[in-house]
Amino acid sequence: MSQAATAVQTDTNAEHHEELSFLYKYILPTDHKIIAMQYIFTGMIMAVIGGYFAYAFRMQLAFPGELVPLYGLVGPGEYNMLVTNHGTIMIFWVAMPVLIAGFGNYIIPLMIGCDDMVFPRLNRLSYQIFLASTLVLILSFFVKGGGFGGAWTAYPPLSSVAEYSLTDWGASLWVLAVALEFVSFLLGGINFVTTTMNARAPGMKMMDIPIAVWFIVLAVILFMASVGPLIAGAVMLFMDQRIGTSFFLPSGGGDPLLWQHLFWFFGHPEVYVVLLPTLGIVADIITVFSRKKLFGYKTVLYTAFATGGLSFVVWAHHQFIAGIDPRMANVFVVTTVLISIPLAEMMFSYIATLYGGSIELKTPMLWALSFIAAFLIGGVTGIYLGASALDVYFHDSYFVLAHFHYTFFPITIIGMFAAITFWFPKMFGRMMNDTLGKIHFWGTFIPFNCIFLPLFFLGLAGQHRRIYNYNHFPDLATQELQNIRIFATVSLIVMLCFQLVFIYNFFVSMFKGKKAPDNPWNANTLEWSTPSPPPHGNFKTLPTVYRGAYEYSVPGREMDYWPQNEPPEES
């Protein structure tokens, strides 16, 4: 470590990186770019599984009791298993690996100008643990009794007693998979934070870091600070299931509410853990495609700090009617509604960034703008649910469901497509087809709204979540409501079909697309100053940074961008 303080700053690092065998290059890589691909591809495969589950249970809701094509009959137990694992997969195995671990791995070293993560082998280990957790989760679908069906929140005693859940090993493997996944992201997170804190290119000050990197690191810090109690809780839940302790069983002196607190103390920051990376990616994309400096870089950053801090003190708004002390609910209403202030300011800043710009509606920009539009709906409907008295009516209804799909869908799916279409040229050295990209965009965004906007009205009509067949509730079994359900399901199928366009575009472009230049979008950040795709070691000469990441359209310059690593002209 003696050379740490006097790091060799601009040596050519070609000699470190000799050619590796296929095994070490693609199967056991230490290169952050390959690990990022592994995360992204695993996440996308899991997204296909999650989407398939959504298809199966939406079909059951629209046509109850019918055989679902490509699936079969969805009974009550299977329905519970499908919704539970759809939620779990989409949050823990799609949003987190793709957005944080995948794109975090890909862009952090490139954007801060270093040759790799600080702990490449730790990085590999965290992917391998993640892969193990994925396999455990998939295994849990096939054990006796089927996959876990106690909702992704896994409230005990249902999740902790096999006689209640009827999924003995399904529940245990589910807890095990989730715990492994947490360990994986803890290790990965330590790597991300340390890299960004220590390994920045010379000259890169805190306020020169691109927002995308800032937000991913903030997300990771939020994750690390919130997940600990839930890991403890997962250990306790696992012991309740397998050893027979009674941490969460009232009959043995435990308390089921304790798990809810442990879960939501993690669960609410988790929302911001997956939200922040997408917000950061979107900030980078809208500045590039509107050729504008980000409006109020510091304001945006501070609002993110405020959001992150507040997210730790709002968790009980998920439990307003769960039997908590009603007086505490008032405290949590105040903190919950307060969170709208920094987020509103951040949204205002994003929209203000567009003002006076020169907006070019390329596919990544369409995704980024649609994220803002959709997230606005998701954000404002959150106010309803933060109000405890309204939560009395809306708790666990389709209103909640529509609300968080209006946040999670933009975050996960739209954010993922925005990031993939934006960095695809850098990742594979080829351009994606813009026309197909736009077809895919409209084919996803319009059906998305058709799926979830009607669900707000189902929620207003008092329809509850996680019920496999509404015929059992006469108030809900009316033809009008059923028509809405069918409409949403049909929209879902349309949306899923349009994903084929993306898959086609993705793979054809990867091998046959137009060769991409180093900097196809004329962007400022460091990753665009290296060849596409970047070689092992990222930069031929490690860059030095001279300015912030968003110096677009600076007056007096001929070019409308000004890369971070371009030395200032002598004057």
């Binding site: 740490a4 803890l186 220590n198 690390m224 600990g228 403890a232 809780g233 043995g252």
Partner: protein, 193 residues
Amino acid sequence: MSMHGPIATHRSATGVPTGRLAVWWLMASEIFIFGGLIACFVLFKLNGTPGFEDASLTSLTAGAVNTFVLLTSSLTVVLAHAAIEKGDREKSFLYIWYTIGGGFVFLGVKAYEYTGKIINGHIITENLFWSFYYTMTGLHALHVIGGMVIMALISFDIRKGHNYQRVELIGIYWHFVDLIWIFLFPLLYIANF
């Protein structure tokens, strides 16, 4: 941090060496894991959940001996660090193995204690206190075992003459394990009312 590690590993924008920074982050997240467990324990205890008076059945002597052992092993591991800073590999190697020996003594006492409890019928499912007792000390013991394994690997590494900084890193981890025990000791052994 192999010889061919990336340049990124050797940068230090914060002024804290990368390895140490990472270990501190690890410690911060461990605080949450153990802290979450301890918080749950305290919640149930202050709530007067039946069974928590069983704290009087834990052996204060065994607990005190274990505290003594861990404190002493903390001393030896920090002396190992001091020795390696002076470049004295052999002395450092020896001190690391004293620490590992301390770990073995700790686990031995722990095993003796568990045996006594189980023979008397205080198994993990008896009541909430014993559930917490075995969970917390068990998780802590796993950390002790993990630390011992890593320490053994490091000791041979430094004898060959590389990765000296790792002695300090495992030291920080070991002290943290010691710290956890410092809080578990009064919780489980002393506060028996």
